[in-house]
Amino acid sequence: MGNSTSPPTPKQIFTDLSVELTGFDRAELAGTGMIDTYYDTLLRMIGEREAGQLLRYASDALTADQQTKNGAALKRDVIDSPRFGPVVVSLIKLWYLGHWYPLSGAYRDLHGATADDVEHVISSQGYREGLVWVAAGAHPMGGKPPGHGSWAEPPSLLTP
C-alpha cells in the first residue's frame, strides 16, 4: 500500500487490488511485465472516471482490511458490489488468461460501455504471462518451454 509518507498512486492501488484478486504477490505480478498494460486496459475499458471510483473504493477497502486481515471490506465494497463486481471479474480473467472478456450486458445497461470492450487477447506477452499456467504448475502452451523430458518428471506445484 504505497509507503507511509505519501498516498498510494492509482497504479499502486491497482497493483494492490490485483494482488488480492489473483492470489499472486506484487513481485509475481511485476514479473509478468503486464501491470502497466492492464492498468491502461482497465482505464480504457470502463473510462478513467469510473476506474478512479473503483480504485478509490478499493483503496479504502484494502486499508480497512489491513486491520482485520479477513478481506471482508474488499468483498463487501468491491467484489460483491453491483457497480464494481463485474469489472473485477473481467480483471481476474485478464490476469489469469491475458484475454479481455467483455463486461456483462447488465453492467453495460447501467454504466454504459466503451468501444474497446470486446473480447480480445491483449498481446502475445499477455497470453504467455497468463497466471493460469503458473497456477496449474505448467507453462503457457507455445511458450516458456520447460526443457527436454521435463514432462516425464513428477509435477510440482508451489503452494500459494
Binding site: Y96, S104, V132, M141, A152
Partner: protein, 663 residues
Amino acid sequence: MSNPASPDYDLVIVGGGISGAVVAKTVIEQAARKKKFPRILILEAGRATALSADKYDTYVEAYHEALAKVPNSPYHASSSAPQPDVLDIRKLKDTEGKPKISDQGYFVQKGPMPFGSDYARSLGGTTLHWLGTTLRMLPNDFRMSSNYGRGVDWPIDYDTLKPYYERAEWDIIGVAGDVEHQYYPIDGLDQYFRSSDPKKTRDGKYIFPMEEIPSSYLDQYMAKYADDMTITLPCMDPGEPDHEFAIRISNTPVARNSTPTTTDYRIVGAAGNADRGQRCEGNSSCIPICPVQAKYNALKTLYELIVKYPYELKENEKPGTRARVAVQSQSVAMEVMHAKGAETERAKVTGLRYKRYYDDGTGPTEHTVTARTYVLAANAIENATLLLASGNAANSSDQVGRNLMDHPLLLTWGLLPENVGAFRGPGSTSGIPTFRDGTFRDQHTAFRVEIGNWGWNFPENAPYVTVLDLVGGGNDGKAQLYGKALRKRLGEILPRQFRIAWELEQDPEARNRVTVDDHYKDALGKHRPVIEYDLSDYVKASLPWAAEASRQLFARLGMTEKRRRPHYETGDYTYYTPDDAAAVTYQGTTYWVRGAGHVVGTHRMGDDPKTSVVDSHQRSHDLPNLFIAGCGSMPTLGTSNPTLTMTALALRTGDEIAEELSK
C-alpha cells in the same frame, strides 16, 4: 534431359507440402545416381512466409494472439487461397431438423454430417500443424477385404512398403522411438520392425534414428494403474464369446527431435536456423505450432532443396550440371490440361494452368507451365477438386473425389484423483494399440487410443473454461472465487484433467465424396470443395465399443462417477448433447464425433483402372505422365496417423519418377 517438345521443366509439382517436397528430394537424389539433373518447379497455393526463421516467429505470435487456438490459427489464409477451418463447422440441420447445406468458410458441406477436419494452405502444408505421430500401418491394414470382408485391399502389402517406411523415418522425417516399447496386436512384432540395413539395427533389432521422446508422467501413472488390465467388449453375434483386450501403454514413435541413436545421424533443426529445434523442449503446442520446429515440417525438406539446388545458376555454372528447384508460392493450380492421345498413344497431360496472386494490389495473373512429368501433391481434397474442375481429368473410374475418409474421434475425459501434471509436454507421448487389429474387424472398425497430455484442452477449451467456471460472474456479476483460493483451486483441478481420443478407422464409401459446383468458387475463381460425408454403420458400431472401453478404463483409474462442469470432483466428465455440430446418434445414444485432421481417400490406388484412380506408384491410370500423390491415394486408412505412410508412398513415387526421367 533433352526433350523434343522442350517443356519448361522436367517436373512440375502442385503443392509445397510433405508429399511434394519428398517427391522432389527423392527424384533429385535418385536421378543424380545416373548423372541426370532435373529442373523442378513446385507451385504452392499459399504463402511462403515461414521459410525464414524470424518470419516463422510471426506465426507463433499470431497463435499467441488468436482468440480461438485452433489448428489453423497461426496460419492466416488469403481469400485467393482460402483454407478450411474447424471454426467453420456448422450443424447441417435447420431448427426443424431438416437437412441444410453449410457454405460457411471454404468448404461447402452438404452432409448429412459435416466433415470435421481441416488442412493448411501455406508452404509446408499441414505438417505445419500436425501432431507428429508416425505410426506405421499394420500388415492386416493392407488386406481389409481379404481378411475381414471390409473395404478394399491395397495393391501393395506391408513388406513392399517397409523399406520406404524406414527411409521415411530416417531420411525424411526423423523419427524418435524405441521398438522395445511398441506393443502392437500382431504376431511377429520383431519381424515387423526388422531391417535389412545393419546401420539401422542394434542387437538384431530395428532402431529409430532418435531415442524415444520420454513418456509423460501421466503415461507412467496410466501404466501403473492400467497396464495389464483386460478390457472386455461384447461380440455382436449373440452367443459368441466376448472380445478381450490386454491393455499396455505404448510409447508412440513421433516426428520430434531427440537424441540420435547412432553417431552419424544428423538432426535437422528449424528451416533457416539449424541451431533451433534440435530437441523437443516441451512447448506443448505441437498443434498448432512448434515454436522451434523440433517437430518435423515440410519446410525443412523444402529449405534443404532450395539451398542445395537453387534454380538460379551462378556465374560460370552451366545448365544441366546440377538439379535445380524453384519454389513458387501464391500460385494456385486451376486446371490440369490434358489431351486425348492418337490411336497408338495414350492420353496425357499437356500443361498446367495456374493463377498467381500478389499482396501489393496487383491483380492475379494467369500462366501455363509445361513439364515432362506432373505431380499433384496438394491435400487429398485439393487434388480431387482440381481434377474434377479440369474436365474430370484422370477420372475414367469415377473414383476421383470418392472414398473420402478421416479418423472419426470419440473423445472421453475425466478428472483423475491425483495430480498427473497435465498441460506439460508434447500433445501425446503414448497410446494403447490393442484395439488396432483383431478378428472383430469384420464387424467393428479398429481404433487407436491416443492419450492426451494437455488436460481438457481439446474437448473443453481448458484451461480457459476452467478459469471461467471458477471465477464465475454469471447472473449476479460477482466473482465466485478469487485471490489465493482461486489460485489454489486451479492448482487442484487443472493438473488432474485427463482425456483420451478414440480414433476410429473409417471405411471407404463411394458416397463420401468431394465434388465441384460452378455456383461455389473462391475469390480467384477456383472451385471450392463441395463435400458429402457420413459414417457407415460399420464405423458407428465402434462408438458404443469405444465408449464401453473408456468406461472400463476410467473405472480402473478411479473415475467412475458421472460428473458435469462447472463443479469439479474426481469423475467422468464425458458428455454429448444432440445440439452439437459433431453429434451422431447410434442405437438411441448420442456421441460427438470430431475430425482428426486425417484427410484420406479421393484418388485411391489399385491395380484395376476401373475401380481405382492411380496405380501403386501413384501414377494416374488415365494420364501416364501424371502422378497424384498423398493421403488421397490410400485405399483404406488403418488406425495409424497417415503422414508416415504418405511419406513412404511419396518416396516410392519419387524413385519411379527418377527412373523415368533418367531414361
